[in-house]
Amino acid sequence: MTKVLMDGNRAIGEAAIRAGCQCYFGYPITPQNELTEYMATHLSRKRGCSFVQAESEISAINMVYGASLAGVRVMTSSSSPGISLKQEGISYLAACELPAVIVNMSRGGPGLGSISASQSDYFQATRGGGHGDYRTIVLAPSSVQELADLTHRAFDLSDKYMIPVIILGDGMLGQMMEPIEFRHEAPTELTIRSNALRGASGRPSRIIKTFTSNPRELEEINWSLYRRYSLIKQQETDYDTFMVDNAELIVVAFGMAARIAKGAVKNSRANGLQVGLLRPITLWPFPSEIIQELSQETKQFLVFEMNMGQMLEDVQLSLGDKAEISFYGRPGGVISTPSEITQVISRLYYQKGLKRI
């Protein structure tokens, strides 16, 4: 396979088309416009495919809902303020057990915030985000290559579990260019899900609904979702580790923050500090078990995020009092450098009196 130089936003678009995405609905917002434009250029002219620039994020996600009803692979993308508007539709997708891929190239918030890369949507992405008792799978890539790979996986997971999947990137990942290779060719035949809503021809009519006036019926719907979520936790939790062997201190970071932290971990190791990195790839389900395992050897954890401390709470829930947890964060779209994180690691390392080689 040949490598191509591509920015993250366009890489998602190409990976989605290669995953058999047939419909894309979006609304312009920085820093993810390259993806919408890529789909306008490359998806709209494909046979059997459709691109619509919607009048709002709300409309875009409801078009996604409509296309998912019709049984096709469908995607939308936005950035933080726009993702807030999509939450209504995501709640309906979750309730109706409809697959869809939603990309959030997140930016600084709250409010209109800034267009700089940030990770302040972690809570929104991993706690459902909209109203009601539901979850979405959340994938957090940290390179353009991984963005392309996880886009494909997002469609597969979404269809497998009939659940909306969020790709949580950030403005920097969307804008930066890296050499990547696409591991899949676009399908020659586009497929339709077997349970699609396409008219009651030769079968009884189908109803897709969320409303019920019977709380007991809704309770069972909720529990059935819960059982599926439990299965996803068992089967799909994913993470990456780097230099965690004999680590006195482990940095926990996701997405671009993990990329920055990786550089800091390398620097720290070169300085004789025994530091490792744990990078959750699925933010939901969160890889609690591996953190617990690591805490048998390592008693100091540093959570680094481009926010005020959101994934921090999942690390705290995972570890309880099994290890000591510190936090370093830069909210508002400020992007730390590896040398800054190296300093944070050093200060913590000496303060805690950790063993040096």
Partner: protein
């Protein structure tokens, strides 16, 4: 003996949950009759809204999917784009289509989406208990206009059908009512014509249907039928508002 009246094939054998004198069951039946007449059951999909008619799927034996409040035109857009040979209709109330879903409606119409909207105008929010709708009349008393709708503070009844008629992507709009046998017959013709516009791939079609809501209007069913004739049609005249279905390649 020749049978001249029977239950439409796609109207389920279910007892309507609607209030006495409500207009929804008449409209449901008309849609069912037209789907039978045009043989659409095999590829039609209906999008009912939150509101009294959210349960339309309990009565129509066709594929249906609930929409979020006001989003019917966007959901129908996505469905139709993914399944262009399907016949897709929304069933929306006045609050749904002309208040919370105004943007979705106008822009679907402006794209000339090949979808059909059945717009139930009863000048009130029914399911939530009789609040002001965008179509409530001046001086009409509702639970949120207890002193009557005041044009100075609540504005005027929104004539969304007339607004939509100015959009090139719209090929057919007619306003009908279901408050008399003759009006019911006209309503059925309009429903059929709206579906035909979609089948012919011409553009966006809409039928606005004035329906009685006796419970929230505080009237008897008979009084509510009369109120449509005497009061409501003065603001919302029954007529073909736009018809470009005769023109080839209308949009």
């Amino acid at each position: 003996m020749k049978r001249i009246y029977t239950r439409p094939k796609v109207l389920k054998k279910a007892v309507f949950h609607y209030c006495p004198g409500c207009g929804h069951p008449i409209v449901h039946r008309l849609i069912a009759e037209v789907i039978d007449d045009m043989d659409l059951q095999g590829n039609v999909i209906g999008i009912p809204p939150p509101g009294c008619s959210v349960f339309a799927y309990n009565y129509l034996d066709i594929d249906m999917a609930e929409s979020a409040h006001g989003r019917g035109a966007a959901v129908a857009t996505g469905l139709k784009r993914a399944f262009p040979s399907g016949i897709v209709f929304t069933y929306q109330g006045d609050g749904d289509l002309a208040a919370i879903g105004t943007a979705e409606t106008i822009h679907a119409a402006n794209r000339g989406e090949r979808i059909t909207a059945f717009f139930i105008n009863n000048a009130v929010y029914g399911m939530t208990g009789g609040q002001m709708a965008p179509t409530s009349l001046i001086n009409q008393t509702t639970t949120t206009t207890p002193y009557g709708r005041d044009k100075e503070t609540e504005g005027y009844p929104l004539k969304i059908s007339e607004m939509l008629a100015s959009i090139p992507g719209v090929v057919y709009i007619e306003r009908v009512a279901v408050n008399s046998p003759i009006n019911i017959r006209k309503a059925k013709k309009a429903i059929k014509k709206a579906f035909q516009a979609q089948i012919d791939n011409l553009g966006f079609s809409l039928v606005e249907i004035l329906t009685p809501c006796p419970v929230n209007w505080g009237m008897s069913p008979i009084e509510s039928w009369q109120w449509i004739d005497k009061v409501m049609v003065k603001e919302f005249p029954l007529k073909v508002i736009k018809d470009r279905t005769k023109q080839k390649n209308a949009t």
